[in-house]
């Protein structure tokens, strides 16, 4: 149990062999938040998109067809689970694979959209997600090579120096996976329908971003 003046004391830990997940007040709140929004995605029905027909008084409301809806919900739940894993993971490599799963499920959520503009944005975002895996896992590999370990518990407190470039690569990787730089593609992606599911894209990316801040200050 480490007690650094960053996020408060570690409350409890769940060992999975060499990967020890831990909860501090900070990561616990992030985890609960991810769980809350996953529950919202499970419980709530998608909204109907209201729009006007040009030149008339009519208003139409669009509903997502069943299969699309089911797939979006499935992906949103997977995204929530990945975000939950990333928020409490106590191992850098494990965090990285949860993060890349977040990136992939985000693409899955919008994949069912029929809107060409949204799909174009999602395509660009998907390319960034794929590129981002290089700095992400590169950062983890540099950490392993220079320190000999991957466990955040061992690295915490700055007892073992983690090189700056490894941290920079990790941040860059998370930026690519979660919140593409400058948000342009993400903003276009959120035009897709299905509020509770689309919201998971935003939730997961902000949570992994918050987690990487904690990790790079801790190690």
């Amino acid at each position: 149990m480490f007690d650094l003046p960053i996020e408060g004391p570690a409350l409890f830990s769940i060992p999975f062999g060499d990967i020890v997940d831990y909860a501090s007040p900070y990561t616990l709140i992030l985890f609960l938040f991810a769980a809350l929004f996953t529950a919202l995605a499970i419980l709530s029905r998608p909204e109907q998109h209201a729009d006007i027909i040009f030149g008339e008084d009519g208003v139409y409301t669009g509903r997502i067809p069943g299969p699309e809806n089911r797939f979006q919900r499935f992906m949103a739940i997977a995204c929530g689970l990945a975000a939950m894993g990333a928020t409490v993971s106590g191992d850098i490599f494990n965090f990285c694979i949860f993060t890349s799963m977040v990136g992939l499920t985000c693409i899955g959520i919008v994949a069912s959209s029929g809107n060409r503009h949204v799909l174009n944005a999602a395509f660009e975002y998907g390319i960034v997600t794929m590129i981002a895996m290089i700095p992400l896992f590169g950062g983890a590999a540099i950490v392993a090579a220079t320190t000999g370990t991957l466990s955040i518990w061992e690295l915490a407190g700055g007892a073992i120096a983690v090189p700056f470039v490894a941290k920079a690569f990790l941040v860059l990787g998370v930026m690519g996976e979660g919140m593409a730089p400058f948000y342009v593609a993400k903003a276009e992606i959120t035009r897709a329908q299905g509020a509770p599911y689309i919201l998971m894209i935003h939730v997961s990316s902000l949570l992994i971003f918050l987690r990487i801040i904690e990790i790079i200050i801790t190690i």
Binding site: D18, G148, E154, A168
Partner: protein, 161 residues
């Protein structure tokens, strides 16, 4: 000239940058530029990085073994020397170092390339470190594959309709 001004704008520096980042076609170049900058810093600081010889998962490569990259030594079901970050979480560490299914034993006996097929056929090698001390990793990795297949099959089936 004028056409270019209309297309690219002639506002302040801020509005020029804004215009550039508001087009998602520029997303990949912008991100690639950021990676290139950090990679450059990485290259410049490369002499400062030192390899830590005391690795958590040490490994010696034995090119003559058919299980080459995955061979941890030792006979299956007997204790072998395997490291773990938290040995207290792994009471039975080292007891299964490389279990081969009959099919993979056949491959290992006849060819040199068993190690390359580990992800390509089921029940290849149960790598002690991979599957025992870092079990969560392997679960998430397969989940990623599963999600990727789900997205791909969904898109494929939608095109069929």
């Amino acid at each position: 000239m004028r056409e270019r001004e209309i297309r690219e704008g002639h506002g302040s520096m801020v509005s020029r940058i804004s215009r550039f980042i508001s087009d998602f076609d520029n997303l990949v170049p912008a991100y690639a530029l950021m990676i290139a900058c950090v990679a450059l810093i990485g290259l410049l600081t490369l002499p400062l990085l030192t390899y830590e010889p005391d690795q958590i998962y040490p490994k010696t490569l034995n090119p003559s073994s058919p299980l080459n990259p995955y061979d941890r030594g030792g006979a299956p079901f007997t204790a072998a020397e395997v490291h773990a970050q938290y040995p207290e979480n792994a009471p039975y560490i080292g007891y299964v170092t490389g279990y081969l299914t009959p099919l993979s034993r056949f491959f290992a006996a006849t060819t040199q390339y068993m190690g390359t097929t580990i992800v390509a056929h089921p029940g290849g090698i149960i790598d002690e470190i991979l599957y025992y001390t870092r079990g969560l990793d392997t679960i998430v990795e397969t989940s990623i594959l599963f999600v990727a297949f789900a997205v791909a099959s969904f898109l494929y089936r939608r095109r069929e309709e």
